[in-house]
């Protein structure tokens, strides 16, 4: 059994290692705390810390706070913070990294349903190679039935306009070489555990 402290240290090491591999990851050291990122973010008001404070926490090794934060899960990947950062920090990519690490550590469970959407989206890709919006929507509705009534009026309108079709849910066509994607997943899993 590893102690909590040991586990914390391992996570910190993993984070440091990952920062070295993501592009320009070590630039967080150059953060000026100017706040351009948070001020530019279209959804910062939904976040507990926002990108500026999150970078400060990262730099100070307060990893547990970082991993418990909702900030990365709210990010809409608009890259405005990244484009404007005077220190050249790729903040959006840093948030992706924090999400990956949160998943690895098991610390953070996002509260806005990101996990479910992500899981269902990925499931579609792995199974069919492509994402069909009808199938994706159906699988999300099945996870949360209360949303079904919200989507009915819009769904009917789209059906009438021919924008969606019901047969696409039943037809489970996948790409020809779907085994390619299975192979890719397997290879990557092997690397992860090795």
């Amino acid at each position: 059994m590893r102690t909590k402290k040991q586990e914390g240290l391992m996570l910190e090491q993993a984070f440091k290692d990952d920062l070295r591999t993501i592009l320009d990851g070590n630039k967080i050291e150059a953060c000026l705390q100017c706040g351009t990122c948070t001020a530019s973010c279209p959804v910062s008001y939904l976040m507990d810390y926002g990108p500026r404070k999150l970078v400060a926490l990262c730099r100070n090794g307060m990893l547990e706070e970082v991993l418990r934060s909702n900030t990365p899960w709210m990010c809409v990947s608009c890259y405005l913070c990244t484009t404007r950062c005077p220190a050249g920090i790729r903040i959006t990519d840093l948030l992706y990294e924090i999400k990956r690490l949160a998943k690895k550590s098991g610390i953070n469970q996002p509260t806005n349903g990101y996990e479910v959407l992500s899981e269902k989206f990925i499931e579609q890709v792995e199974k069919y190679g492509r994402v069909n919006e009808m199938r994706l929507t159906m699988s999300l509705i099945l996870k949360n039935l209360s949303r079904m009534f919200d989507t009915v009026p819009l769904g009917l309108k789209l059906l009438r306009k021919g924008r969606i079709s019901l047969t696409s849910i039943i037809k489970s066509e996948s790409i020809k070489n779907i085994k390619d994607l299975t192979q890719i997943s397997e290879r990557i899993k092997l690397r992860g555990s090795g």
């Binding site: 809409v76 790729r90 999400k99 990956r100 990101y114 790409i175 070489n177 890719i184």
Partner: protein, 272 residues
């Protein structure tokens, strides 16, 4: 859902004499989701598409801002990081592919503005969209993080294109402000605020329609208009059309050829 964007792109490119070949057996790049789970897998998924294109000897054209960013990112990462390049190619090898970095990733907007160009487009215009005001909406990922062909915050290429087909591009401050992207699935209420700001800003500037160049932007702005109206007690009703449909109209293509009848808020009669 995005068939109108798909067919109008194919129709105008055919009309321009460009030879589009669909990438055989392409796979979804995973949008932003794989980056949140496994970076390597995200890169390999895009690398598979790049490798397939390389095998065909073609460059890769996309009409989606998110695919565009993912493909560009993969190209750049593989070029800058030799170890990563090796790892990705080892995985590709298992499925009988390899990628040497020769494929250029292009967005349809960029190709129309920079490759096809002003003269060739103007030559094909038979019914210019006169006195028609359009708000060009670029979204995020077509110019961010990689701003290959236009400014990351105030792009102008679609504005120019709109003027070439006889219409007027209105100036409004939110043309690269985010529509909420995937957040519309997760936190619709928050997203409605973003969408309302965008729609109102375009309407205030006198726009009679918003032209989009990304499937997700188009979906968000179009599908949630009624929810916006309900939530904020306003009455917005502005057509949200893929910019390729406007070009098709100016080229004199029929509404069916460019999927015009499938749009939720129809364009005004005067141009259709």
């Amino acid at each position: 859902m995005q068939k109108p964007y798909d067919i109008s792109t194919r129709a105008i490119m055919k009309h321009l004499g460009a030879d589009l070949v669909e990438l055989e057996d392409w796979n979804c790049c995973g949008a932003t989701f794989y980056h949140s789970v496994d970076e390597l897998q995200a890169l390999v998924l895009s690398a598979r598409n790049l490798a397939l294109a390389e095998r065909m000897g073609n460059n890769l054209l996309t009409i989606c801002n998110a695919c565009y960013t993912n493909l560009l990112k993969t190209n750049m990462y593989l070029k800058k990081n030799a170890n990563l390049n090796k790892t990705v190619n080892e995985i590709l090898e298992k499925i009988g592919l390899s990628y040497h970095g020769s494929v250029k990733v292009r967005h349809i907007l960029e190709v129309l503005v920079n490759d096809v160009g002003e003269q060739s487009i103007k030559e094909k215009v038979i019914s210019p969209l006169k006195d028609f005001k359009v708000a060009p909406y670029y979204g995020c990922q077509i110019v961010r993080p990689f701003h290959i062909f236009d400014d990351p915050e105030f792009p102008t290429s679609m504005d120019r294109l709109i003027s070439w087909i006889g219409a007027t591009a209105v100036s409004y401050p939110l043309k690269t402000k985010c529509c909420g992207g995937m957040l519309s699935f997760l936190n619709k209420e928050a997203c409605l605020g973003l969408i309302k700001d965008l729609l109102q800003s375009a309407v205030k500037s006198g726009a009679e329609c918003i032209a989009t160049c990304c499937p997700l932007c188009q979906t968000n702005l179009e599908m949630f208009q009624e929810d916006v109206n309900k939530k904020y007690n306003i009455q917005l009703s502005i057509p949200i059309v893929p910019f390729t449909q406007l070009i098709g109209l100016a080229f004199g293509l029929s509404p069916d050829e460019i999927g015009l009848k499938a749009m939720l808020v129809p364009l005004k009669k005067k141009i259709t």
